[in-house]
């Protein structure tokens, strides 16, 4: 299986380490990974703001860039949710199957053999699109037996303590352009989200979406909070023995 590595635009520009970690994880697990150089973005920023035609143009570029790949994997629940549920990539014959990194590993049941210890209190931030869009875990609203597709990986990390939160899966308030056009609400939501983690003494806040992390980290740094932010891919790659 040849995997096309999808590095969303803002990760490419602002969080390159997340792209590198994703590549490392996939290669360490034995996959043959290619990185199409003409990729840009999934089109979500436009579509979520109502600019569907504009977004579709960008998605067309995505399709073209990944032509010839059967499987595409990217480290963002949000972008992948957009590609699957809004841009309907996967519906047309010839479309690749697009996966969020950790959902992909879960589907493949392919996990690292072991990981190094991480003796810290960690707050887990399920991004809304990974959670309610991709069903990476059971959302708190739905009455169903608990499951989480990232649990097997978390269980591999010795000594890490996941702190409980008052509101386990509340939105952080990023929301793409919402973060600037509704900045007062967005900031208020973000402060509340970070406060929940701080109240339960998280030293690290971990997520599968860099956009949520960028927003919460921006808030925490502005206030001088003592907490650090890590993409789950970075954590796993750093703990690879």
């Amino acid at each position: 299986m040849k995997i096309g590595l999808f590095v969303p635009c803002y990760i490419d520009q602002f969080f390159p380490s997340v792209g590198k970690s994703t590549l490392t994880i996939l290669e360490n697990l034995g996959y043959d990974v290619g990185y199409p150089l003409d990729q840009t973005c999934c089109g979500q920023p436009m579509v979520n703001s109502g600019f569907v035609k504009e977004g579709n143009r960008v998605t067309q570029n995505f399709r073209k860039a990944f032509e010839g790949y059967d499987v595409v994997v990217g480290p963002s629940g949000s972008c992948v949710h957009h590609l699957l549920d809004h841009a309907h990539v996967g519906h047309d014959p010839g479309d690749p199957k697009v996966h969020e990194l950790f959902s992909f590993l879960y589907e493949q049941q392919n996990f690292p053999p072991r990981l190094k210890s991480f003796p810290h209190n960690v707050g887990l931030h399920y991004s809304c699109h990974a959670l309610r869009g991709l069903n990476i875990a059971s959302p708190s609203e739905i009455v169903e037996p608990y499951f989480s597709k990232i649990q097997p990986i978390l269980d591999l990390i010795p000594d890490m303590k996941i702190v409980p939160l008052d509101n386990a899966d509340e939105c952080c308030g990023f929301g793409g352009t919402f973060s600037v056009f509704e900045s007062a609400v967005s900031i208020d939501m973000g402060q509340r989200r970070v406060d929940d983690h701080l109240k339960h003494e998280a030293r690290y806040i971990i997520s599968m979406d860099s956009s949520c992390l960028m927003h919460m980290e921006g808030i925490a740094r502005k206030r001088g909070d003592k907490v650090e932010f890590l993409h789950l891919a970075d954590l796993v790659a750093n703990l690879w023995p």
């Binding site: 803002y10 792209g19 600019f51 143009r57 067309q60 939105c171 990023f174 208020d188």
Partner: protein, 458 residues
């Protein structure tokens, strides 16, 4: 007063209102209680599905059920009136009151009468209105609209309520005891109830096969009014219909659990016919509903049973407050309904959401709320009803991001300037940095790193 757009109104609530955390605290409390209550029910998700099916079926056969409902209601001895809009509903109510020379009315909670501005209309005709739901009484006394459909005074703290009661009912100053305050309001209203000549209520469900209506309250105030006054008037939106009595078993189990985490509301009353010697009127109100029903992308939002769960769970609602929406039904569902009724006025509301999807996941009738909000954004943009400050960056963004070469060129600059899209740059940075630091830009993009370290290596 001109309506403020949501971002400005929410900003005011967050940064300048007297108690900006009140709605969050009350909302999250209700959401948590809801979670406990719904987890007790075996097959809760199946119940939601069933409720959605019943509502969809009813809405797609609404003409038939409305006729059946009217026929049965008339046979029960109810006076049935039709109102094409709010103005007609208000006139019906006033005409009935005038005929009976009613000096004032007692009114239980009804979002429909809020929507149609009944209080203001009646007061203009010289008629006094006493809202009898405690929360609604509080907002009435402080001359404000409700901030929530189930908990109208959700934005008020106990201190504020105590102060309002002291001012209007001469209660003891500074007494914060909830029991004392509740009893004082009750005592004050009790004499209005006893002498009332007419009672007005909303309706939770109308049952087509029996021609009956069901009203759910926690205070019994609707019943007190209806059972005492010789004239009872029920105002009902036409989407409140369900086909059969047994369907109530689905909705009654969902409503209170989703709304407040109660298993059932304290009072669930069914009214079938007038008491001997009294009159029962039912006003069936359209006020934009038929047109809304004809909108292929949005008609499903008429399934709403007004439980308020989507408001309680919505972090945007809890942060910005119910008044920030400027519409009688606030929150996620209000942001779909409002533009369906008046597109030009409420085109900001579909953007007042982070699209986290929690609303759709709690909704007991499974409305795809955040999906419809996203759809509204598309419609609004297609009508060019969007400010240039939003549309220019989007068009630029699309142009850049659909051309890999241009993206690489501007990406380099973006990292330097941190203005993602050139036109948007300065403004976005200003809004972003109000409460946040910017991300620290790395030296090189992933692509640049990849080209250096990976490309052409075995």
């Amino acid at each position: 007063m001109k309506r403020k757009k949501h971002p400005q109104a929410a900003e005011w609530y967050i940064n300048h209102s007297p108690s900006p955390k009140a709605q969050h605290n009350a909302g999250i409390h209700l959401r948590n209680k809801r979670d406990v209550a719904v987890n007790e029910v075996d097959g809760f998700e199946a119940l939601r599905k069933r409720a959605s099916q019943i509502k969809k079926h009813t809405l797609t056969h609404l003409d038939r059920y409305l006729e059946e409902f009217e026929e049965k209601a008339l046979a029960n001895g109810i006076h049935v009136h039709w109102a094409v809009d709010g103005a007609e509903m208000n006139k019906h109510v006033f005409r009935i009151l005038e005929q009976h020379e009613v000096p004032y009315i007692v009114k239980s909670k009804s979002m429909l009468t809020e929507e149609c501005g009944l209080n203001a209309y009646l007061e203009k005709q010289g008629m006094e209105v006493y809202d009898t739901d405690l929360g609604e009484r509080i907002v009435q006394l402080s001359h404000e609209p409700p901030s929530h459909i189930v908990v109208p005074a959700m934005h008020k703290t106990r201190e504020e309520i105590s102060e309002i009661f002291h001012r209007t009912m001469d209660t003891e100053a500074g007494n914060l005891d909830a029991r004392y305050l509740t009893l004082s309001a009750r005592k004050d209203l009790r004499k209005r109830f006893m002498e009332a000549k007419a009672a007005v209520t909303g309706v939770n469900f109308g049952v087509a096969e029996t021609g009956t209506i069901t009203i759910c309250t926690n205070e019994g105030n609707a019943d007190l009014g209806v059972n005492k006054a010789p004239v009872q008037i029920h105002c009902m939106g036409i989407e409140k219909l369900i086909p059969r009595q047994e369907d109530l078993s689905v909705f009654i189990r969902l409503l209170a659990r989703s709304a407040t985490g109660q298993r059932i509301t304290t009072y669930t009353s069914h009214y079938q016919k007038p008491r001997p010697g009294s009159e029962m009127h039912l006003i069936l109100v359209d006020n934009g509903r038929s047109e809304h029903l004809g909108m292929p992308d949005f008609w499903e939002s008429l399934k709403c049973i007004r439980c308020g769960a989507c408001m309680n769970t919505c972090p945007v609602f809890r942060s910005g407050g119910g008044h920030s929406y400027g519409y009688s039904v606030p929150g996620p569902i209000g942001s779909i309904i409002a533009p369906a009724r008046n597109f030009e006025e409420y085109d900001d509301l579909p953007f007042a959401s982070s699209l986290c999807g929690s609303c759709s996941a709690v909704c007991p009738v499974k409305i795809d709320i955040h999906g419809q909000l996203l759809k509204w954004r598309e419609v609004i943009v297609d009508h060019e009803n969007v400010e240039a400050k939003k549309s220019i960056p989007m068009k630029w963004g699309s142009r850049i991001l659909s051309r890999p070469g241009l993206y690489r060129f501007s990406g380099k600059w973006a990292r330097k300037l941190l203005g993602w899209f050139p036109e948007m740059g300065r403004r976005a940075v200003k809004d972003w940095t109000r409460g946040r630091e910017l991300p620290q830009p790395p030296k090189e993009s992933f692509r640049e790193w990849y080209l250096k370290h990976k490309k052409n290596k075995p």
